[in-house]
């Protein structure tokens, strides 16, 4: 039998861990365990010198198993596995104990936390000796890409990918390309023409030989895995199958319906309209009330449905600047018109947006601040039927005021598409509580998702403006182009495995597999696992009545010894 030489490394994570866990005491305790050759602590294990420490020790002390106690393995397990690889060790001879999220961040008693950390590390030490060497596997990448949604993001990504000579399938549920932006005339802050931009984009997309457009179509099913996806696509006439290597979801978002906000009386009071209605008016060139007359007083209310716990807690990001754009457009078309802009915080964040805010304040506009959270204005129809009055407390002056307006424009929030959940299910990704797709990492990986080969871009991830959506689309395109350029990609190796000798062919496993990775082999009368589809979730292993399925890297043996390790240490230190 092989001699186990384990190296254990405890990370301080700055003060993140060291503040609540006595790292040095853990090291002392772990040193005593059998098979532990060395145990060390370091401020940031994930850093270059931290990894170097591991590599050096492996070489010097001939370590063959490594345990790192640090943060959640989600972020850094790959980092340390790579370090093992660099030292010439199989990356799966590694185990990580999470003493940050599971210990230091959730406990307030330093002694107890230290004790728990000791237990977790001991468990990892016990477990790691049972680890088996696993080898990397690669799959080839199909060079085509599926893009769902042909708005500004979808088209930009499509063009970016297709321009490099790769095939793109662009699927759109409407009969036209362009999405939300098609309904917008001018764009802030320079009041450039979105109409020109989008029509150019549509023209380029439609004329591109490498972009296959499917309008009025929807995806019924997606199967496969990174590099080798298949989808069923249908429109009213036919159903077809597509093959592709990557998926980009750019389904955009939709406008919030403000009629549920009692105070504003949308659809009840004439001349209370949404920003989308107003945009239509601007598009046609005539700003008019329901009686056809030009309004002398227009009120614009911000944060309609945004930044309010009753509707949507988030900020819709674009409405403030759109309102400023409207003010400029109104002053241009009807210089005599008085504009009241009722806002909460003026979020002029983009390049040159603050400058637009400054220049807009010189226009015929009165900026009034309200409390979007607790004190929504009340809109009432006046007796004459021509005007409405808006009552609220103006915060900057502290006065409760009422203003008379011929027209009220509600800057409605944006919200996620109704079918996002459905799409998320098809593509194997998830949505957050607001219905937006969740990115892999909110800071450093805004376009990837937890499912490899599936990317998100544009407003389906969160509300954003046109330039930001396009940037995201191109970012996703970069990811996709990189995999295409490489031609192959590494896939999961911790998959399930069927022991054909024990398997009784009951097919319990196949019925529970969420990835449809298990099939029944009629000839052999056993179940078989498609290792590329398998994500190693372990559902089948726990369902198997005869214990014939084993999840690689999560064997019973490994898990039980980990538990034993934890418990032994808890008893010992109690």
């Amino acid at each position: 039998m092989e001699e186990y030489r384990i190296g254990v490394y405890i990370c301080w994570c700055g003060t993140n861990i060291a503040m609540m866990v006595d790292v040095e005491a853990v090291v002392e305790e772990i040193k005593k365990l059998p098979n532990v050759t060395i145990a060390k602590d370091y401020k940031y294990m994930c850093s270059d010198p931290g990894q170097d420490l591991i590599v050096k020790d492996i070489k010097e002390h001939h370590l063959n198993r490594i345990v790192v106690a640090a943060c959640s393995p989600r972020m850094h397990e790959p980092t340390f596995r790579k370090a093992l690889e660099n030292a010439g060790l199989n990356p799966y001879f590694f185990e990580m104990a999470n003493i940050r999220e599971q210990v230091s961040w959730v406990h307030t008693d330093r002694i107890e936390a230290t004790r728990k950390a000791k237990g977790l590390v001991a468990g990892a030490v016990k477990r790691v000796v049972h680890h088996k060497a696993l080898n990397k596997r690669y799959v080839d990448i199909h060079p085509a890409t599926l893009i769902i949604g042909a708005g500004v993001a979808g088209m930009s990504a499509a063009l970016e990918i297709a321009d490099s000579g790769q095939k793109v399938h662009l699927v759109e549920q409407c009969n036209q390309l362009g999405g939300m932006v098609r309904k917008v005339d001018l764009n802030y802050p320079y009041l450039n023409s979105s109409r020109q931009t989008i029509s150019q984009l549509i023209k380029n997309t439609e004329e591109h030989p490498d972009i296959q457009i499917y309008t009025e179509s929807k995806i019924d099913k997606i199967s496969g895995y990174i590099g080798n996806f298949r989808a069923l696509l249908s429109n009213h006439q036919e159903q077809r199958e597509l093959e592709f290597g990557n998926i980009l979801i750019a389904t955009g978002l939709k406008s919030f319906d403000p009629s549920i906000i009692e105070n504003y009386g949308y659809k009840r009071i004439p001349n209370v309209i949404t920003s989308a209605d107003f945009e239509k008016m601007l598009y046609s060139g005539l700003i008019h009330c329901e009686n056809g007359k030009e309004p002398g007083n227009i009120a614009i209310i911000h944060c309609v449905g945004s930044r309010n716990e009753n509707y949507h807690p988030y900020c819709s990001r674009t409405c403030c600047m759109t309102a400023l754009k409207y003010i400029n457009q109104i002053s241009s078309a009807a210089p005599e018109c008085n504009i009241y802009d009722i806002y909460a915080d003026m979020r002029a964040i983009g390049k040159d947006c603050e400058e637009l805010y400054a220049s807009t304040s010189k226009k015929n506009v009165m900026f009034l601040m309200f409390d979007q959270q607790h004190d929504l204005p009340v809109i009432k129809q006046n007796g004459n039927g021509k005007t409405v009055s808006i009552e609220f407390t103006e915060l900057l002056s502290g006065e409760s005021i009422h203003i008379q307006a011929n027209m009220v424009v509600l800057m409605t929030a944006v919200e996620s598409q109704a079918n996002n959940k459905e799409i998320a299910h098809l593509a194997g990704i998830s949505t957050d509580k607001n219905g937006f797709f969740i990115e892999k990492h909110p800071k450093l990986d805004p376009v990837a998702t937890t499912t490899e080969g599936v990317y998100i871009a544009g407003t389906c991830q969160s509300p954003k403006d046109i330039p930001d959506s396009i940037v995201q689309a191109k970012a996703a395109a970069a990811r996709i182009l990189a995999t295409i350029a490489k031609g192959k990609v590494q896939v999961e190796v911790t998959t399930a495995q069927v022991n054909e000798d024990i398997c009784c062919g009951c097919q319990c496993c196949a019925s529970v597999c969420p990835y449809s990775a298990i099939s029944y082999n009629e000839d052999k009368k056993v179940s078989e696992v498609n290792e590329i589809l398998c994500k190693g979730c372990g559902t089948c292993a726990s369902a198997c009545p005869s214990g014939a399925i084993v999840s690689k890297h999560f064997t019973d043996n490994q898990i039980l010894s980990q538990i034993t390790g934890v418990l032994e240490m808890q008893i010992e230190t109690a």
Partner: protein, 390 residues
């Protein structure tokens, strides 16, 4: 209290001076930078807000513009160049027109032509009166037997004094009625209940501030305060001498230089001359915050005052040198400048702040006293309530 906002007021207000205040985004730096602002009496941001929103009633009842001495600290660091200092100045002009029930003030502030026309009409009236009158007295007496100037023969002091008094009554009437108007706007219309006794207890503040301009010294620019104080005392001295004691002031006898009449005259002249020159210099250099922006009425005021002083000095110089005709002509010119200046500036234009500012301070104290009283009453009520519960 529900307030109706008025988007049209903006355009009206713009005529009273610079309009940069439109750019204000309410960071509050100006208020905090102001050395005169106090808890419960914050400016200038609050006034900018009222201006932006067109809150007519709030503006009419606002005393803060008069409490500001325009040191310019607020404008220096304004992140939007909204120029709150000049805004307060513009607001003073606006308020002058609000207090003035005749509407002349508004006319002067909104139209250059109207202002100049008024000046010329009054000057012409003075000239015509002088020409008509100059036919009346015996020309042979215009020169004293010694060959000196006999100004009291040319323009008998009683007549001038009579004219003076008429003007004084007119001006006082206008000013007092405007101040009463102001009182209604800032105290009565705002629903402030002033305890009767406070009208007397706070009165010393009115007098003291009128004399000392004490509040001004809290501003950082000391020289400005000195010059201003010098100018104010000089003006008041001369005004009192000319209007109330003209018979004593305007004599044919030339007293020795140390005679109080001459000493006081010199003090006042020096004050006015140096003061107006200083302000003209500052305004044309435009280096300081408070002299960067000049409304045309600022210029007419300071130039008229300067010319009055200059012509007054000339009258004096010609007189003591016995240059009779020159004295008489320049005397008429002096009256032609002085009369329109007083008639226009005192009740309707810039000079009115001489009266409005001390009264504003007085009213502000009344307001504060009323608020304190109210607070006490509230406390007492709560106390009683507590007691009754107990």
């Amino acid at each position: 209290m529900e307030n109706l906002v008025n988007p049209k007021l903006r355009d009206e207000l713009k005529k009273f001076g610079v309009q940069d205040w439109e750019g204000c985004y309410h960071c509050g730096q100006c208020t905090a930078n102001c050395p005169l602002t106090e808890q419960g009496q914050l400016f200038p941001r609050k006034d900018i807000r009222s201006m932006q929103m067109g809150l007519k009633k709030t503006l009419a009842g606002s005393l803060e513009p008069w409490l500001c001495y325009y040191c310019g600290d607020c404008s220096k660091e304004c992140p939007r160049n909204a120029n709150p200092g000049e805004m307060m100045m513009a607001l003073r002009r606006y308020l002058t027109s609000v207090y003035d029930w005749t509407g002349i003030s508004k006319l002067i502030y909104n139209s250059k032509i109207a202002e100049f026309a008024l000046i010329f009409i009054i000057a012409a009236l003075v000239l015509i009166l002088s020409i008509i009158y100059s036919q009346v007295p015996d020309r042979s007496l215009w020169i004293t037997p010694e060959g000196g100037v006999a100004i009291n023969q040319f323009f008998p002091v009683e007549y001038v004094h009579f004219g003076d008094m008429v003007m004084f009554v007119l001006l006082a009437g206008l000013l007092i009625s405007n101040i009463v108007n102001m009182y209604f706007k800032v105290i009565v219309n705002q629903g402030i209940k002033v305890h009767f006794i406070n009208y007397f207890t706070e009165f010393w503040a009115l007098i003291w501030n009128f004399i000392s301009q004490k509040k001004f010294s809290k501003c950082d620019s000391k020289p400005y305060w000195y010059v201003h104080l010098f100018l104010v005392t000089a003006y008041v001295t001369l005004f009192v001498m000319v209007v109330a004691f003209l018979t004593w002031f305007q004599t044919d006898t030339i007293y020795a230089w140390y005679h109080p009449q001459r000493i006081l005259g010199y003090y006042a002249t020096l004050g006015l001359f140096a003061g107006t020159l200083y302000f003209i210099y500052q305004r044309s250099r435009k280096t300081k915050e408070n002299s960067k922006h000049s409304h045309y009425t600022d210029w007419t005021f300071i130039v008229l005052l300067f010319l009055s002083t200059l012509s007054g000095i000339l009258v004096h110089v010609f007189r003591i040198n016995g240059m009779a005709l020159a004295t008489y002509y320049i005397y008429i010119a002096h009256l032609m400048i002085l009369t329109p200046m007083l008639m226009i500036e005192v009740p309707f234009s810039k000079w009115s702040h001489l009266a409005y500012r001390p009264f504003a301070i007085y009213f502000a104290r009344l307001k504060k006293a009323a608020e304190n009283k109210q607070k006490e009453a509230n406390m007492e009520a709560t106390y009683k309530l507590k007691e009754s519960i107990a």
